[in-house]
């Protein structure tokens, strides 16, 4: 009788253990793929960029120039344009819609060939102005806004998209393994930021696939309320469910408000993992307050964005994505990001030679 009971129990337990083990293997594979310094993979055929861009002008309107992330992205795009040798103008602004509108008007009146909205500025908020630019014969692009899975506005010609969904998969895999296959995660997002939807969905779907019965909680905090609501939101979530064992603030600048919440709640043993590779958060990994951050090379992203814009203006097929690699930074490799960290260290510089060859600048 006992033998039969044991056999029956084994029949129930073994498949569950096998599933757990499979999920762990899958999660580990996702992490392993983003732990190595990436190789350069061209997003299209080589072309003579200098010849094609000789008489072209590009006008870039960033969402704001008081956010370091955007400033670094614009710097890289400017460097890339200088290497090719075409006119590239950045419309300096502090994130107000009147300044963006002025920017589009400026681009139209000065006869630019392409207007790009950069670093998260949603073209929908400039619909009438950008359609006017299009009617004036200009191309309209976005850089670093949409997730790879999202569809761009109808009047936009091309978009250099970002693999937010992949970042979601990595975050979910990390939390799954770090919690020994029993995650109960708190995800923090900002729904009004366009790619948040697919980003969060990817985390939730991946976790559900690894562990269908595991719990997850999502809180939405608008960007303007990060300073006042993240801390109280995290504390409330931990009070409501003390078994939460990992925190995933999807944009890494949220981390500075999560850390004090954990301190006040006396839950400093909980891990934090995030996305963006912002230097101060990388520094927090070195200090031990954050466990992991997925970084993207903004230098690489800037060059890839210029590559997409040039292909559009030169009548070539435009890649659907920026094609930038995502790299995991944790306690083991965070020193490679610099001490103190910066936006571009740790990713190698293979992309610089790669883009030069792609644009036929070597000769």
């Amino acid at each position: 009788m006992n033998t039969r009971l044991c056999a029956a129990t084994a029949l129930l337990i073994l498949p569950a253990q096998a599933a757990l083990s499979d999920a762990k293997v899958d999660a580990q594979a996702v992490l392993d793929a983003h732990r190595v310094v990436p190789d350069f993979a061209p997003q299209g055929e080589p072309f003579d960029a200098q010849a094609c861009m000789a008489d072209k002008k590009v006008f870039s309107i960033p969402i704001t120039m008081i956010v370091p992330f955007v400033v670094e992205l614009e710097r890289a795009m400017t460097r890339a344009a200088e290497e090719v040798g075409f006119e590239y103008t950045v419309w300096e602004n502090q994130g107000t819609s009147d300044a963006w509108i002025q920017g589009v008007n400026q681009a139209i009146s000065q006869g630019y060939d392409l207007v790009d909205v950069t670093g998260g500025l949603n073209p929908a908020v400039l619909g009438p102005q950008l359609q006017e630019a299009k009617a004036a014969g200009m191309k309209v692009t976005t850089t670093h806004l949409y997730d790879d899975t999202q569809t761009q506005e109808a009047f936009v010609d091309a978009s250099a998209k970002v693999p937010f969904s992949t970042a979601g998969e990595i975050l979910a895999s990390w939390a799954y393994l770090e919690t020994g296959g029993a995650p109960n995660v708190l995800i923090i997002g900002s729904d009004e930021v366009l790619p948040t939807g697919p980003f969060v969905q990817s985390i939730q779907d991946t976790l559900a696939a690894y562990c269908p019965d595991c719990k997850q909680t999502y809180i939405n905090v608008p960007v303007t309320e990060w300073a006042t609501k993240i801390q109280s939101g995290v504390q409330s979530a931990l009070l409501a469910d003390p078994t939460i064992n990992y925190i995933l603030p999807i944009y890494d600048s949220m981390s500075q408000f999560v850390v004090p919440a954990l301190r006040i709640a006396g839950a400093t043993d909980l891990g934090i993992a995030s996305f963006n590779g912002t230097p101060f958060v990388l520094d927090m990994i070195r200090e031990g307050t954050v466990q992991m951050n997925i970084g993207e090379s903004l230098g690489w992203a800037g060059y890839a964005a210029i590559d997409a814009q040039m292909r559009l203006l030169c009548g070539l097929p435009v890649p659907e994505s920026l094609g930038i690699p995502l790299l995991i930074f944790d306690a083991d490799n965070v020193e490679t990001a610099g001490v103190p960290a910066d936006f571009d260290s740790g990713y190698g510089d293979e992309h610089l030679a790669g883009f030069r060859a792609l644009w036929m600048l070597e000769n």
């Binding site: 008081i66 956010v67 370091p68 400033v71 729904d191 809180i219 939405n220 905090v221 608008p222 303007t224 309320e225 990060w226 300073a227 006042t228 609501k229 801390q231 109280s232 939101g233 504390q235 409330s236 979530a237 931990l238 009070l239 409501a240 600048s253 500075q256 408000f257 850390v259 004090p260 919440a261 301190r263 006040i264 709640a265 912002t278 230097p279 101060f280 958060v281 520094d283 927090m284 200090e287 307050t289 103190p340």
Partner: protein, 330 residues
Amino acid sequence: MTATPLPAVRAPIDWKLQAERFALLAAWAALIGLFAVLIPGTFLTWRTFSSILGSQAVLVVLALGLLLPLTAGDFDLSAASVLVFSAMFVAVSNVTWGWPIGLSLLGALATGAIVGALNAWFILFFRIHSLIVTLGLGTFLNGMTLWLSGSQTISGISMTLVDAVVITRILGIPAAFWYGLALCLVLWYALEWSMAGRRLLFVGRGREVARLNGISVDRTRAAALILSGALSALAGVLYAGMTGSADPVSGQGLLLPAFAAAFLGATAIYPGRFNPLGTLLSVYFLITGITGLSMLGAAAHVQSLFYGGALVVAVALSQLVRKRQPQNFG
């Protein structure tokens, strides 16, 4: 013939006034009761209250700073800018320049007082409305913060400060709460029982009457603005200690909640007057609502509805009780 002393006449208790004084306190208790029923076993724990009390010290100190010039009839719209600059000054001087944390704190507090003095000078010497001057200087200071920080968030502030603000606990509540409470009691005592505090109240109630009674109105207003600058800087120091870092933008979001707390606080304890106890009470009334709603899983917009709605409803009810007399905060 001997004079017989008149019997002492006690003024009858004004029950309506007493009800108004403690209405917010009762509303807070009712809110706690409601959440205790809706979230049984979890809400009514010391852990929840430790969390609620420990997290709002920055807002408490900022709101307490604001109510000094408000009492004197001036608005200090530069308060959040001073907070952000002060937090960034602590971060840059401590992390980048390598100053000892004590020196960084002193520098930050001195900077806050200097900004307050500049506000006072422009307001009083040039006779410009405080709204205009503090808005202008606040915006100027925002630019200084961006310049000082290079638009970067700076982490790695000395753990001594973090320890002193959030890790050290008394009765299980982070030290920051006790700093806010102590400041509240000091200001309450000063406003209620000291000559300087009474002068501030007189100046707020009627500058001309105060002047004719021999009160130096300009000096009193200047002192309120300087103290407001210094206390905003103190809020910045706590902000830096709370997060262990400083960023050049996010603290700006605390300005409106701080004003909301000051105005809501003026409906409680001493109705019709900005007062420290009412301000403290209103901060914790609002955060209790937000915490309970969060624990119930309410969406972000519901929290904003509660925050804004509670403020307007409380002030409106208070006005009904006083038969819609014109407001004369001060």
